[in-house]
Symmetry: C2
Amino acid sequence: MLPMGLPAPALAQGDADPALMPSPQKIQMGTGKFLINSNLKIALRGLEDMRVKHAAERFQAALSRITGIPLPPNNDHVIVPNFIVNWTTSGEKIQKLGEDESYRLEVTATEVHLDAPTPLGVLHGLQTFLQLVQIGPEGFAAPVLVIEDSPRFPWRGLLIDVARHFMPVEVIKRELDGMEAVKFNVLHWHLSDDQGFRVESRKSPRFAKMSSDGSFYTQDQIREIIEYARDRGIRVVPEFDMPGHTTSWFVAYPELASAPGPYEISRHFGVHDAAMDPTREHTYKFLDEFIGEMARLFPDQYFHIGGDEVNGKQWASNPKIQAFMHAHGLKNARDLQAHFNKRLQTIVRKHGKIMEGWDEILHADLPKEVVVQSWRGQKALADAVQQGYWGMLSFGYYLDLMQPASQHYLIDPFGGAAANLSAEEKQRVLGGEACMWSELITPVNIDERIWPRAAAVAERLWSPQEARNVDDMYSRLAKLSERLEWAGLEHVRSYDLMLQRLRGGTDIQPLRVLADVLEPVKGYARPHTKHYETTTPLNRLVDAVRPESDVARAFAGEVQRFLNKRASPTDLEGMRTVLAIWRDNDQRLAPALHGNSLLEEAVPLSQNLAGIAATGLQTLEYLNAGGRAPAAWRQQQLDLLKQAQTPQAELLNMVAPSVQKLVEATSPQ
Amino acid sequence: MLPMGLPAPALAQGDADPALMPSPQKIQMGTGKFLINSNLKIALRGLEDMRVKHAAERFQAALSRITGIPLPPNNDHVIVPNFIVNWTTSGEKIQKLGEDESYRLEVTATEVHLDAPTPLGVLHGLQTFLQLVQIGPEGFAAPVLVIEDSPRFPWRGLLIDVARHFMPVEVIKRELDGMEAVKFNVLHWHLSDDQGFRVESRKSPRFAKMSSDGSFYTQDQIREIIEYARDRGIRVVPEFDMPGHTTSWFVAYPELASAPGPYEISRHFGVHDAAMDPTREHTYKFLDEFIGEMARLFPDQYFHIGGDEVNGKQWASNPKIQAFMHAHGLKNARDLQAHFNKRLQTIVRKHGKIMEGWDEILHADLPKEVVVQSWRGQKALADAVQQGYWGMLSFGYYLDLMQPASQHYLIDPFGGAAANLSAEEKQRVLGGEACMWSELITPVNIDERIWPRAAAVAERLWSPQEARNVDDMYSRLAKLSERLEWAGLEHVRSYDLMLQRLRGGTDIQPLRVLADVLEPVKGYARPHTKHYETTTPLNRLVDAVRPESDVARAFAGEVQRFLNKRASPTDLEGMRTVLAIWRDNDQRLAPALHGNSLLEEAVPLSQNLAGIAATGLQTLEYLNAGGRAPAAWRQQQLDLLKQAQTPQAELLNMVAPSVQKLVEATSPQ
């Protein structure tokens, strides 16, 4: 892939092989194609089911969008259906963990047959069919084939944190559309935290009024989202994080806290001291009422109580709590939290739900039905299931850490310390969840932060464990990314918009050339570099650039081919052209950076790219002339390249490592 | 402006002058800036009004999107408001034609004051402020100024035809967002035609079931749209076109027709024979019930009955109708239609509405309250108001004819034959409406067909008549276009998506270089070239390319500067670079065209561009070497260029005329 704005190589017709993501369990290719035209007619042959009806309508509209072929809901002018959908049961009234999601899709040259035991399988099969449709010599068509497909894990989720930065209803709907496309089936909705409480409670109205800055979902909106998710085969599991991560609760109800108020909504991030008082009966009475209300609002069988990162400071400095611990033989904060969790679990159970929580809730006092979500590692997952609990993996799937899709892709719920689990223990691993924590995201860049990378996790949780070919994954991910934009996601569009925002205009090409080779710093480096609060503008270059640079990855591949002596003269010419554009880009870009309050910090990044590219070009000359480079020059470049790899403006130049490889391939003379 | 993918010139900081569209009545610039940051706090100081409250929430969200600065609805941590909104009345419960829409916006370095007599003025002022915000050396800011603004005409509309191709609710909402941004205040909703009937009627349920192919709005959806429009200061005027354009009605209720059924929903376009029977009492009884129901559903004071293009054939061949005409002294179809309109007007009036219709309804028998919408010319408008009727202009504002924004912009309701109206007659010209007829549009390309060109009409109807500087208009239109994409319109994004659809992938750069210099053929040339039906796929290159090529317009400007001897050496070099890229593009693009069922037809267009560009380059050489060109070569090029300007695949090469100018500037030797 070349950066935008470079002379592209000659184009050829796309590959006709289906690029499906997640990859199905079984696929058998035939010959020929099923052509899409306005005579497409769907017959729904199962029990009447609104989910299937809606899905068929959305499918037809999506197919029409993708192809530009009009496909009205009732094309009565067509007599004989050629897209036959069969399902045998209507599925659970409230979508249930472990429901059959399998389907069989048979495409012939004249007909499509989609068969599934439940509506969920139908939904998945329709999404697979959409991914099959490609333009070709005869028009839009799906290849003749048979797919038999079912998920590897029953719990395939995406966590969205709406507490640190609120995400409006339309954003959540967009993400649900993306989730449907890659067969995720759980939205884990992180609804409260120190920085905000995002749900209207009728019993506790002060939450919305005092704990949300006015950014919350009404109960009607919650119901609307749940309905929207159900229509897409997605369960909605709410999380109300407690006893820590609760500062915003105490703004409205300070009597729940372990230290006297008043409290303010927190504007900063990280572990807070605020924690509920687990020693007062009032706390449980309040939670009983609150959880009762929420249990009715959220129909799913599971209820997530958080339970992570309680530092125990408020407990340690409250004499009454200390006395309680002493009286009940609770040795430390961990024991006290376990005491709290046990009481909490009783309340959750009373309201008909199964409790779920993060790693830290794991404690032998809890009943075995509890689900433990591991964020700390596969070891924590293994521990939980070995002790007889249900487990789920999120370690390795944190999208906010800006890691490449390949890294998420290769982490398996049965990998690492979980590899040696017994078959019986593995049964208790339900799946996993990608997590989008929202300290540093906004409604504008959330799509870009989630998509398409989350699809790598979706595939990990759906497809066979053996699917581990990273190159193949990336090529399918690129196709999926296109389709996600058709589905209404804005990960591509928002990148352009944010570059325009920075630039103050649409002439963003040189800025894009730079942005295309950058990536945000990884892990928790951003909050370690700068103090972020919820009011900090997220409009810098680092907020716009993609988590993963496709351009840099492609360039790394070209460099590797070149070093392996497998580059053609055309390939070499391509590398030279790209390097020359990078070398000359600063000259074009610099005037737009100076005097722009947001782009000023990109000045060294732009200069860096020019220097790196000049080094790369010179190195290619040396390598083509036998590989010897002046020793002093060589060392100087290596020093500069090392320097160029240190973060600037919280951004990394991702082509520097490839140019470094080139320099290292020369020998000093 | 350069085509995407060309080496761009060095960038400079954007102009700080406010680029407002529509241009306000009065603007007085000050010095300094009001900075946008998270301390922005709005105070609403008028009577409690939900429209203003919603508008302020949307304003804050939009400002936050545009700037990347978090602005929660209640930023209680800020004590002192610095954005003060005052309004004095709550306005009409149902938005009324002629309500005061004026506002005064004063921006100082520390405060913003927005004052308006009604909530409508507040809405307009907020949109103006959004357009003022630009990135600069100190961050996002609005310049210090005072604006006093009010519309020239009280009726500024956009017609959307949802009969020929249905547009889902989310599309209509998008267009309403765009309309709000440019201060349009009427959505004229063309809801029925030969090809479909798009509203659920509870009294006449067969319309939805039989006349819509399943594509219609439920009454709840209609109410939702009306509410959405009202929130944006936009009235919704429904049109049910009669007595012609009614084939779809007769599928459900053939007894209304002038010829026996059964009828089928029409799949083709143009003037149809089908017309209601104006001689049967049953027709009026039915319409009384139907209009009564619709008059309750649509609260606006106006009700559009269409009335255009009745060819009278069904009336001529029905002996009973002929006898009726004879008995009542009706000489021709025009008289019979006037008879129908008179009865219809009584019904419309009975249900509390004022009747509106197209040119053809003009007839002395109608009461003077009727509004005549002129699609045939300014003469028709003048006739109507001279006869004492109210008038409104749509002639010259048909967006489906693919004319440039400048053409729409220069047509004035008081221009042409309407220029000599008396002051009193001019009072009866209410304004105008841009029209988006939907024979050749889909939910995917509608935004590109409407925006940004419709804004030229919006400005014509809002701003002073004297505003006629086309270059200035285009430079503001470009800014507006960016902002519209932030507002959720998809005119930019859909262009890319459609090119990707054609290409079958994201590597669209060479295709885009070609598409950027093309325009669809003008006027009614498309239906004259090829037979279109409602089921015809609209997925060809002509459906993707923009109505107006910015690249070709920019190139024409460069050629003109060059021929006027005002081009710098850099300008000349820029022209050469562009021409070279065009010349070489076919080589890169051709492999993607061959064997692609949709792009095959673009082969000659791509070759054409290469030839035109080669000619252009050669001509520049001649012109730089004194201007003499070999006579035979010169003539041959002129012939080729003439040939190159004939439509291919319903597309026009828009740079050919500029290259022709260059060749014509040489002298034969």
